[in-house]
């Protein structure tokens, strides 16, 4: 199958036990636990394997470029600022696109490369997850949802980008940015003020969104 060729999942053992019984309601990875390993293909053609980034902070940013909440952070330049600032400090930043073909935000590699150029987006890479496997592995619910993994491979943050659950860019200057806070604290060896928040935005447009 195409999806297994581009995507292989090495699930952390306890998660695997849950997933064997009920694949879609398995216990989602929790903050404080090892982040489930994955490898995925990016729009630049390369394959990225999470385990290769031990020793670095890794950010996963779920993305749908048509979603009003994603657009809030891209059209204002907020997301690109975060990407530039933190990748310059050695953070590995993966934009993850889990929109299924035919849904909002689905991108071919070429279209995504053009979009990133146009928007001056600066993640390490944009992972193409049209199967939704990586999204489901992390139980990603919204765009933009953020997961942060520390150099030991432990998930230290899961949730919203900031504390204003709106699609209005004028709210950004008055928002507390959880990504900024979490990475600043974690790099300084301090505990995080917030480690699990309600992610806000559009639902991730998975192939199996059956309503």
């Amino acid at each position: 199958m195409k999806r297994s060729a581009i995507f292989s999942v090495g699930v952390f053992i306890s998660a695997a036990l849950f997933s064997l019984a009920t694949p879609l309601v398995f216990s989602a990875p929790k903050v404080g636990e090892l982040a489930p390993d994955f490898s995925a293909t990016a729009s630049n053609g390369k394959t990225y394997h999470l385990a290769d980034f031990r020793g670095k902070f890794v950010v996963l940013e779920w993305h749908n470029n048509g979603c009003p909440y994603t657009r809030k952070h891209y059209e204002s330049g907020n997301m690109q600022r975060l990407q530039k600032e933190w990748t310059a400090k050695g953070v590995v930043w993966f934009t993850v696109i889990s929109s299924a073909p035919g849904t909002q935000g689905f991108m071919t590699a070429d279209a995504e490369n053009a979009y990133m150029g146009k928007m001056n987006a600066a993640p390490t890479a944009a992972l193409l997850d049209a199967s939704g496997d990586l999204g489901h592995l992390y139980d990603a619910k919204t765009t933009p949802q953020i997961v942060i993994i520390n150099p030991q491979g432990v998930m230290i943050y899961d949730g919203a980008i900031d504390d204003h659950a709106t699609s209005d860019a004028s709210d950004i200057p008055n928002s507390k940015n959880y990504v900024q806070e979490a990475l600043t604290s974690a790099m300084a060896g301090k505990p995080l003020a917030m480690s699990a928040t309600r992610p806000y935005g559009c639902s991730v447009k998975y192939a199996d969104a059956s309503h």
């Binding site: 309601v25 849904t103 699990a196 309600r198």
Partner: protein, 305 residues
């Protein structure tokens, strides 16, 4: 319930005539002619409130009133009527795992104040891992309007609402923004508007009711869940609990309902986002009959001994 096509046309026509009368009043026609035209028109239309439906992505939005005129000292109800194309939805007060409820900013004449929106019971919608609480089809979001005893007609005598919302299908989400208004003249007597009565009655029937006085509702915490018991004096076979607050229960976890000899027990998985203990779990319990009740469930730390 749908408003009939004739009254919808009336509403649009009234707007046009109002505009016409305003324009001609300041131009070649005498104010008397304009007033006469308006009077004849109002007589023909049979109702004094006028509204205009706004086009929104994949639907329409209209501000409607339960009363045909504003009477000083008499509160009344207005409503934002969303009509959505099949496959599209907006969100409840607690949207669930994603989405955002509509936000309304009222612009009211002096002497009027708007109360909180009355949210009808939502519909649970979702795939296995993302669950939302939504409205689809037609929904009326009602708001009470308090009218001061000294209210007098002002110019413009108009109730306006700036509405922002998110509208989604399974495949995509779009931002919605609309400015809707309603002209409602002050009158000594303003009775129910026959054209909207059925819509308001249907919307009221969808509002959650206070829990019956003979119900006893209690809850306790277990390791990963909240267990709530509803003692209603008779067995209840099923029920679904819509949490009013975010990040308290896991929306996508299956709710376990167990019928009790005198009620219902629901086991709800705690949200992974819950960081502080909660004393009260607020929500709407929907029964298989479609009846919905507001519950404030006090949560004890330990189970019943």
């Amino acid at each position: 319930m749908q408003r009939n096509a004739v009254s919808m046309m009336d509403a649009r026509l009234r707007i046009d005539v109002d505009r016409f009368s305003a324009r001609v009043a300041g131009s070649i026609f005498s104010p008397a002619v304009a007033t006469l035209a308006l009077a004849i028109f109002l007589l023909l239309s049979g109702s004094a409130t006028s509204a205009q439906s706004a086009h929104i992505p994949h639907g329409t939005l209209e501000l409607i009133s339960e009363n045909s005129a504003i009477t000083p000292g008499h509160d009344f109800t207005i409503g934002l009527e969303f009509k959505m194309e099949h496959g599209w939805h907006i969100y409840w007060e607690n949207p669930g795992d994603s989405g955002e409820p509509p936000h309304v900013t009222w612009q009211l004449p002096k002497g009027l104040t708007a109360g909180e929106i009355k949210w009808p019971a939502p519909r649970k919608m979702g795939a296995s891992t993302i669950v939302n609480y939504v409205y689809d089809g037609d929904v009326l979001l009602m708001a009470p309007i308090r009218v001061g005893a000294d209210y007098s007609a002002s110019t413009p005598d108009k109730i306006e609402a700036a509405v922002k919302f998110l509208i989604c299908s399974d495949q995509m989400c779009m931002p919605g923004k609309a400015q809707v208004s309603l002209a409602a003249p002050a009158k000594a007597q303003g009775g129910q508007d026959a054209g909207t009565a059925a819509i308001f009655a249907a919307a009221r029937a969808r509002l959650p009711k206070p829990a019956p006085p003979n119900w006893k509702v209690s809850g306790h915490k277990e390791k990963d869940s909240f267990v709530i018991d509803i003692q209603a004096g008779q067995p209840i076979s099923q029920g679904y609990f819509f949490p009013l607050n975010e990040s308290q229960i896991d929306n996508s976890a299956p709710q376990v309902a167990a019928s009790l000899p005198t009620g219902l027990r629901l086991t709800l998985r705690k949200s992974g986002e819950l960081t502080k203990p909660i004393g009260i779990l607020k929500g709407v319990l929907e029964l298989p009959s479609g009846e919905a009740y507001l519950l404030n469930v006090p949560i004890k730390f330990a189970g019943p001994q």
